[in-house]
Amino acid sequence: MDISNYLYLSVILFTIGALGVLIRRNAIVIFMCIELMLNASNLALVTFSRINGNLDGQVASFFTMVVAACEVVVGLAIIVTIYRSRRSASVDDASLLKN
């Protein structure tokens, strides 16, 4: 199989994520879309690592996972707080700050 297909997949995943952020309203889902984008990046890193024939990309993807995990922690904390305050996880409800 042509290795570039992995890259196409990665681009497709990234695009899905990027568009998902625009379309979905639930903060958790939006956040998952972002995670999807990060994972798409990871896939790209790993694929390139394979193409380039060195391990830098694979190492980088581990860093990414760790960072993503941190983001999850903080992100969920924030989302949960908001949910508790508002009884809603819709990002559209959180739109007091504007204009």
Binding site: I23, V91, L96, N99
Partner: protein
């Protein structure tokens, strides 16, 4: 050229006296008028002394100069504050200081009850100083200073009683009409400088032969405009009638004898320009003829004695201007008429002032009548002036005015007949309206207001009148005897002794013709005004109505200048607010509208923000794609 160190005093003394009287204020009330008169007499003394010292020299050696200080020096423009007293200016110096002194004396009595008499005398001295500067300046620029200076003095004196709104308006009108003329003078100066690199009389004279005809005509036309403003010539004549708002001595000195003749001086002084440009000469004679008829016609219908005399002044100056346009021969006659006019017109104005003084400041001639008996000295002096202006031999006007008519005829051809004929008709009309004035005022029934007690004025007032009357009688003969004035002015104006080389009409014929029209005019007036109503009749011919309204001069100015000017002003005020500042506000408005749009885009939704980011990514990709491919 000879130099003198005294000339400056001619100007400095009255100037300082004026400043002193104004600065000291009420402290000087007691003696201010005496100081002013003394100073004026002193300048006359200096003038006489200079005249005799000049007279003792010969021909070309007579002119005297004095450099006072370097005034302006920038690039090749070098103008010194220098004075030039030559044969031409000395005539003026004597006229100004002489008549000026007489009028100072007259005013001591005339202005006796006015609590601002000191201020009046300060203005008079200011005028003397400015007028002397006008005639003594050795360059157009120095002349210009005096030129505007007399305008200021005239403004101040016309508006002397400026608490009266009408008088204040009259003063303003005079100044502004003069300013229009001043523009002409300043443009003439600019053209001269651009052409010759100098603005001194001598420099321009030396350069004139090298200049293009167009330039010379332009200078001439601009000088004429200046003269028209100052001398109340068509089309800038409208201010003079209103200027009679000033105290009568002022009318005599400034608006009859001296300032208004400055235009004649200017043209005569610039003879080298007009000699070189026939176009300019044609303009000059046209203006002269129009004005002399205009003034005469207006004079026939005026019931206000001062306005009648003012119209006459305008007309007489028209004669002088006409003369200056007749080529080298005319200058001397213009000056001669100017001098004789200075005597008789000043005398008549003082007479009018004397009458008003006796009639509680009544100016309407229809309310006079039969005053000769009660004011004999006034009547006699006025009558002598009257004879002089009519040109009855051997009174002064005969020598000067007839010469002008004669010279006009001698232009030859249609032009000669046109100019001469107009001048002749003018003489007839002059006779009519002056007779009217005399008849209405001094003879006939008494049409006085109740409570009027006409009486002869005090000696301080009649003495100057007598002196001027003597001048009205004798000056013409003295100036023309042996062509004395013509010869005297010869070095300055290149006037030839005879009336041109081509004497087309015998002088006697002209004189007889002139006398005939005068008799006609005077006779008609006498018959017409045997009986006069105290109130001006309403039902009069359209011509009379037109003349009463100064031939619609103010209406024309109103329609052509004032109304459009006011409309333009209002329009521009609105433009400034709505267009110019509006554009600025528009920029502000547009920016704040954009800002508002941006504010609305910032709608608080995360998804929108992400969308904006993603759009940014796409546009960025597009830019990079465009750049790199």
């Amino acid at each position: 050229m000879r130099t003198s160190s005294h000339l400056v005093y001619l100007i400095a003394l009255p100037l300082f006296s004026a400043a002193l009287l104004l600065l000291l204020g009420r402290i000087a009330d007691k003696w201010g008028h005496l100081l002013a008169t003394l100073i004026s007499a002193t300048t006359f003394g200096i003038g006489v002394a200079e005249f005799f010292s000049m007279h003792s020299q010969s021909g070309a050696n007579r002119a005297v100069t004095q450099k006072i200080f370097e005034w302006i020096s920038v690039g090749n423009l070098k103008v010194d504050a220098s004075l030039l007293l030559d044969q031409l200016s000395v005539c003026f110096v004597l006229l100004i200081t002489g008549v000026g002194t007489l009028i100072h004396i007259y005013s001591i009595a005339y202005m006796d009850h006015d609590k601002d008499r000191r201020r009046f005398f300060a203005y008079l001295n200011l005028f003397i100083a400015a007028m002397l500067l006008l005639v003594l300046g050795d360059s157009y620029l120095n002349l210009y200073v005096g030129w505007e200076g007399v305008g200021l003095a005239s403004y101040l004196l016309i508006g002397f009683w400026n608490q009266n709104p009408a008088y204040a308006v009259a003063a303003k009108k005079a100044f502004i009409a003069n300013r229009v003329g001043d523009v002409g003078l300043s443009l003439a100066i600019m053209i001269s400088f651009a052409q010759f690199g100098t603005v001194s009389f001598a420099g321009v004279q030396a350069g004139a032969p090298h200049a293009s005809p167009v330039a010379l005509s332009a200078i001439g036309a601009m000088l004429l405009l200046a003269a028209a403003g100052k001398s109340a010539q068509f089309p800038l004549q409208s201010w003079l009638g209103d200027a009679m708002a000033g105290p009568t001595p002022v009318s005599a000195l400034i608006h009859a004898a001296t300032m208004v003749t400055a235009g004649v001086y200017l043209i005569t002084r610039s003879n080298f320009i007009f000699d070189a440009s026939s176009t300019a000469r044609i303009l000059v004679v046209t203006v002269g003829v129009i004005t002399l008829l205009f003034g005469a016609i207006v004079g026939t219908a005026k019931d206000d004695i001062k306005k009648a005399l003012a119209a006459s002044t305008m007309s007489q100056i028209g004669y002088m201007i006409l003369a200056t346009g007749l080529g080298p021969v005319g200058y001397a006659f213009a000056i001669m008429h100017l001098l004789t006019h200075g005597f008789f017109k000043a005398g008549m104005f003082l007479g009018a002032g004397s009458v008003m003084h006796g009639m509680e400041d009544e100016v309407n001639m229809r309310k006079y009548g039969g005053l000769a008996k009660l004011m004999p000295i006034t009547a006699v002096t006025f009558g002598l002036g009257y004879l002089a202006i009519l040109g009855v031999p051997p009174f002064a006007g005969f020598y000067s005015k007839d010469k002008i008519i004669e010279t006009a005829f001698n232009q030859g051809g249609g032009k000669g007949i046109l100019l001469g004929g107009a001048a002749l008709i003018g003489a007839g009309i002059t006779a009519f309206y002056m007779t009217r004035v005399v008849v209405l005022t001094f003879s006939g029934a008494r049409r006085w207001k109740e409570g009027a007690h006409p009486h002869e004025s005090s000696i301080l007032m009649w003495a100057p009148m007598v002196v001027l009357a003597i001048g009205s009688v004798a000056s013409g003969f003295l100036l023309s005897f042996g062509s004395s004035l013509v010869n005297w002015l010869q070095p300055v104006v290149n006037a030839s002794n005879s009336v041109g080389g081509k004497e087309l009409m015998n002088p006697w014929v002209v004189s007889l013709l002139a006398l005939a029209v005068v008799v006609l005019g005077a006779g008609y007036a006498i018959t017409k005004y045997r009986t006069v109503e105290a109130v001006a009749p309403e039902k009069v011919s359209i011509f009379t109505k037109a003349a009463r309204k100064d031939l619609f001069q103010d209406d024309v100015n109103d329609a052509l200048l004032v109304k459009p000017g006011k409309a333009l002003t209002l329009g521009l005020v609105a433009t400034d607010n709505y267009v110019i500042d509006g554009a600025v506000r528009l920029v502000g408005w547009v920016l704040s509208e954009i800002s508002d749009v941006l504010r609305k885009i910032q709608n608080g939704y995360v998804r929108t923000y992400a969308l904006i980011m993603l759009a940014g990514v796409f546009i960025g990709a597009l830019i990079i794609w465009v750049v790199t491919v």
